[in-house]
């Protein structure tokens, strides 16, 4: 889940767009419920609630931390409600609905403001197309997962909950498992069109990997524990906005933004926001407890590498808790 906001700092005579990049390892676009173990059985359901907490307090410029004398910060607590339905071994349908509470101390115009917003964000729908391979003591799964991001989140106010535009993407997933070992690899990308604010958020690409195993299996109690090391790598392009320029020199008035500078007149110009995008890698442990048809998972992600463009707020670590369950039928009377 990535939030981009463009704000201004005037008074110093230059245009500074501060972008908050939520370096979320959140599997918003690739991973699928339930905790990546989609129910295999025909007509089976899976649901999960995922609680994600991201705090960004560090101000970085060209890859190095700089003084954050104004105490700029950004917090995003998201509760995801996710579900999956398995039509058959091949086709599934997934929904992911975020409920967000965002707070931030961010520059708006000439001021630094304390902002808050809460509500539903953009809903993600995806349709995994899977293929399983089974052998004695081994199973593997490949999937192609196209997704749509629906612009259901509000774009009102200075801290929007949604992107204001639909998005789309594709993930390729491979995972394999033995009773004691587990591995998962994913490659995915996401693109979107221009939003209400004439900004096209940067496309991003990601590679996720989780490797580990099951140190505890107790069949009698239907209980097991999985431990994995997760690695998430992301590359995000810069945001772009297209604006109509008035013919002027020494400064220009651009729809929705103000610049100090010189721009040649033209019907429209596309700018890149140099304070958006970047690349980063996060690493962290993940522990999952399984009991019967329920699963509880705790993830912690730490930045191992980060190179953000321009000046941006960046988080230090991310915590995520997930509870999920599978059901062979939604209601007791169903066959």
């Amino acid at each position: 889940m990535i939030y981009n906001g463009i704000m201004q700092l005037t008074g110093t005579g230059y245009f500074l767009a501060l972008t908050v990049v939520c370096l979320t390892a959140s599997p918003s676009f690739a991973h699928h419920p339930v905790l990546d173990a989609e129910p295999r059985g025909l007509g089976a359901f899976g649901f999960q609630m995922r609680f994600e907490n991201i705090s960004a307090n560090a101000l970085e410029q060209d890859g190095s931390e700089i003084s954050n004398s104004q105490g700029l910060s950004y917090d995003n607590r998201t509760q995801w409600l996710e579900g999956i339905y398995t039509f058959n071994r091949t086709f599934h349908a997934v929904f992911k609905v975020p409920f967000q509470t965002k707070t931030g101390r961010l520059p708006i115009g000439a001021q630094v403001k304390d902002l808050k917003a809460s509500g539903m964000g953009d809903v993600n729908l995806s349709f995994p197309i899977s293929r399983y391979f089974n052998a004695m003591g081994f199973t593997s799964h490949m999937a192609m997962v196209p997704h749509l991001l629906l612009p259901t989140g509000s774009t009102d106010g200075e801290l929007p909950l949604g992107r204001g535009t639909a998005g789309y993407g594709l993930a390729l997933v491979y995972d394999c498992e033995t009773p004691r070992l587990y591995g998962r690899w994913e490659v995915f990308g996401h693109a979107g069109s221009k939003g209400d604010d004439d900004v096209k958020r940067g496309n991003f690409f990601g590679v996720d990997m989780g490797i580990g195993g099951f140190p505890v299996i107790n069949e009698e109690r239907e209980f097991s524990i999985k431990l994995t090391l997760e690695t998430h790598a992301r590359v995000q392009m810069k945001d772009k906005y297209t604006a109509t320029l008035a013919a002027s020199t020494g400064g220009s008035s651009v729809v929705g933004h103000q610049h100090a500078g010189f721009y040649a007149a033209g019907p429209s110009v596309t700018y890149s926001n140099d304070n958006t995008g970047g690349r980063w890698i996060e690493v962290g442990p993940s522990a999952t407890c399984y009991f019967r048809n329920m699963a509880f998972r705790l993830d912690a992600f730490f930045p191992a590498y980060r190179k953000l463009n321009g000046t941006q707020l960046a988080n230090d670590w991310i915590l995520q808790f997930t509870f999920g369950m599978t059901l062979s039928k939604l209601f007791p009377w169903m066959q």
């Binding site: 033995t178 004691r180 070992l181 019967r292 599978t326």
Partner: protein, 194 residues
């Protein structure tokens, strides 16, 4: 070979174990080898659906069955006098995302010829099974087995389980066979009453 292929090979080599000899001496039990069943959580829905099978003795194990993901097996307790629904078992596993590699069982009854086939009427379930050797030819057995009560350890392979035509009279490949003692009188009486 690409990276995915290498990784999968490593996983399979680690997982692969020498083929286990599954001995099953008890006609009231049956063992299914299930491909892909490696996870207690992932197999929950399938294990739940197995409970619907009427031929299971739900008083035994956990509602008639117990899974072992490390061996990839489901051991089922059979109810006396109830025919095993192999078709239902296969369908539940297949729809659940798994594949049955083989079913191991123990049959006890009298060997008899029926047309081209050698058949045993399993006393425990009341079902008839065709017995074949490893080459899928009718299994004749030693001369002194004819007309006698025998105990057969057999296996039903995957291609037979997946073949609807075989569900009428299941074909069992004989692993071992021995003469069985005469049926206890009370058991004969029980079967008569049933």
């Amino acid at each position: 070979m690409n990276a995915l292929g290498i990784l999968s090979t490593i996983f399979v080599l680690i997982a692969a174990a020498p083929e286990k000899t599954r001995e099953i001496k008890d006609p009231s039990q049956m063992i299914a080898e299930v491909k892909g069943m490696v996870c207690v959580f992932c197999s929950f829905a399938v294990r739940e659906k197995l409970e619907r099978l009427e031929f299971l003795d739900k008083k035994m194990f956990r509602k008639g069955k117990v899974a072992n993901v490390e061996e990839g097996t489901v051991t089922m307790a059979l109810a006396r006098g109830k025919p095993v629904d192999f078709a239902g078992l296969y369908r539940i596993m297949h729809k659940g995302g798994y594949d049955i590699q083989a079913v191991h069982l123990n049959l006890i009854g009298t060997l008899a010829g029926k047309g081209d086939a050698m058949v045993i009427l399993n006393e425990f379930s009341g079902q008839e099974f065709s017995l074949v050797d490893e080459y899928r030819r009718p299994w004749w057995g030693p001369e002194d087995f004819k007309g006698k009560r025998i105990s057969v350890e057999g296996v039903i392979p995957e291609d037979v389980l997946a073949n609807p035509e075989a569900w009428v009279r299941m074909v069992v490949r004989v692993k071992s066979a021995r003469l069985a003692p005469d049926r206890p009188a009370e058991q004969k009486q029980e079967d008569k009453e049933r």
